[in-house]
């Protein structure tokens, strides 16, 4: 983990509510796809956790959805402004078990972390299929970016306004893959966990006090005991996940 000041390079809308933020600074602690950063905003006490969508040299790309006061405030940041970040948080995805043709599954703002993951998987010579799920056509973002990387992209929308009608699990049925990686809202993760064949890794969200393991605010029960989503997570393996409800 590192605490560093980053400078805003770009903060532009991808859809009505989703923004892309590009930041310049010390990215040396950001080492694995699936990790996140924790952003301090003036006048808000707790930091806001956002996954790393991409890192290229000293430039970090984050994609966030405006859902409340903090992300609304983030939306007002303009190039040149500075943000205090904790970087390199969380375990990130383990690429070693991916096999030759992993499936990456992203839903909504679970899509961004899959981008860097896909890039790394492709860079290691694997074939990647990406199933990207959204609610409706005008909420879709980054599908072209995944294609540009060289991934096969299957788009789903709940209302069928673009791509396959339905959920990511509908698109997954019948697909062949060596391993899977998933990030998205909890109901999606649960459905993926229930229906996906084979092994995989899933990334979770929890309200966080610190983001680096100090407060026990983000604990979750796994079959191997309790884990802190911010430290032993956010990525858990399919096998260790316990759904309590």
């Amino acid at each position: 983990m590192k605490q560093c000041l980053f400078t805003v390079l770009e903060n532009t809308p991808l859809t009505e509510a989703v923004m892309r933020l590009r930041l310049q600074g010390d990215t040396s602690a950001v080492i694995r796809p699936g990790q996140f950063v924790n952003i301090k905003l003036e006048g808000r006490f707790l930091r806001r956790p956002i996954s790393v969508c991409d890192v290229e040299g000293d430039v970090l790309t984050l994609i966030y959805k405006v859902v409340g006061g903090g992300t609304e405030q983030l939306r007002t940041m303009t190039p040149g402004m500075r943000l205090d970040l904790l970087t390199g948080l969380g375990n990130g995805y383990d690429l070693s078990p991916a096999g030759d043709h992993p499936l990456v599954i992203g839903g909504g703002v679970g899509v961004p972390p899959m981008y860097w993951l896909t890039k790394e998987l492709l860079a290691s010579g694997r074939k990647v299929t990406a199933v990207l799920g959204f609610n409706t056509a005008n909420e879709v973002f980054y599908d072209d970016m995944f294609r540009a990387l060289g991934a096969e992209v299957i788009l789903t929308t709940a209302d069928g306004s673009r791509g396959v009608k339905g959920f990511v699990t509908d698109a997954m049925a019948g697909l062949g893959y060596s391993y899977f990686y998933a990030c998205g809202p909890e109901p999606m993760l649960k459905a993926v966990w229930r229906t996906a064949r084979g092994s995989g890794q899933l990334s979770f969200e929890k309200r966080m006090g610190c983001g680096f393991g100090a407060c026990m605010g983000c604990s979750c029960r796994t079959i191997t005991g309790s884990k802190r989503i911010c430290r032993e997570g956010p990525v858990l393996t399919k096998e260790e996940i316990r759904w309590d409800d």
Partner: protein, 304 residues
């Protein structure tokens, strides 16, 4: 004896800055960030007799100038703390540490303290009496002077280490609770724990916390904490540790002027992981600005 040093219940601290329980784990997460030997000491995560997962999540919420937590004392239980956490800590922290203890009955408090009494790494026992008393109808031990005294006596009976009773601010008369603890043998008083609070999510129309209510901490509570430290420090003769919203060297000095011998820092660690180190580094300059030669000279030095 440096400019920053203070004496806490007979043990010399290099400085009065102590990360507060529940915001510093068992120390080694922070040891990855900086040499935690710069601290006066630190208070570990609240330790109970049996392992606890704590409350369901979400158990954290944002508040104006603060946060609410309902972690619910997640910890591996005293036996594993002794078997695993303390040995692990030894490699990164060579000073005596403060063991924060919780319980749900008088016997539990005593049992945990008795075990920790044998550990040479433990310099002080900080006994958190804001947990609900399962045998006493759910109100916390810290809200009734008689029960606070009962816990103090039970703990004092099983340990030779200094016992610091940590008080809940959710009371009508904090001085009565503090005095009851002092009379029952407490070697020090620390305050405040969190203020009972709540937030409702307008979208779901439910509490933001799975536990419904939680404890408010952070800068928002600082003026309440300072008032209680002021009241208690004038009423007891044992050392008082002040905490609640402290987040700068100035806040440390304000707490000490109010009567605190040492100062704990809680929620601020979660947002600014280097804050304790930075405050310790800033203290000499801030002391100069206010004409303070030695911190120990200003304890309780404020006038009404």
């Amino acid at each position: 004896m440096g400019r920053l040093s203070v004496n806490l219940c007979g043990v010399e601290l290099d400085n009065p800055v102590i990360p507060a329980s529940g915001t510093f784990g068992y120390g080694y997460e922070f040891a990855e960030l900086y040499d935690i030997n710069v601290l006066g000491t630190f208070s570990c995560k609240g330790t109970t007799l049996r392992p606890r997962f704590g409350n369901d999540t979400p158990r954290i919420a944002e508040a104006p100038a603060g946060m609410i937590n309902a972690v619910g004392l997640q910890n591996p239980g005293v036996d594993r703390v002794i078997a695993e956490e303390l040995p692990r800590l030894k490699s990164v922290f060579r000073k005596p540490m403060m063991a924060n203890v919780s319980g749900f009955s008088v016997e539990e408090y005593a049992a945990v303290c008795q075990k920790l009494d044998r550990e040479p790494q433990v310099g002080w026992l900080e006994v958190n009496i804001s947990c609900p008393n399962v045998h006493g109808g759910g109100m916390s031990f810290g809200t009734d002077p008689a029960q606070a005294a009962a816990v103090t006596r039970a703990v004092k009976a099983v340990t030779a280490k200094p016992v610091i009773m940590k008080l809940s601010p959710n009371v009508t008369d904090i001085v009565a609770v503090a005095k009851a603890c002092e009379e029952a043998g407490a070697d020090g008083i620390s305050l405040i724990n969190t203020l009972m609070a709540m937030r409702i999510d307008l979208k779901t129309r439910r509490s933001v916390l799975a536990n419904t209510t939680g404890g408010l901490s952070g800068p928002a509570v600082f003026p309440v904490a300072l008032r209680m430290v002021w009241q208690v420090a004038r009423a007891v003769s044992v050392p008082v540790i002040g905490l609640g919203g402290v987040s700068s060297a100035e806040d440390v000095i304000e707490m000490m002027l109010a009567g605190a011998t040492a100062v704990e820092i809680g929620a601020a660690n979660l947002v600014h992981p280097y804050i304790c180190r930075d405050i310790i580094a800033a203290l000499p300059e801030v002391m100069d600005r206010y004409g303070i030669n030695n911190l120990r000279d200003i304890i309780g030095g404020a006038n009404p």
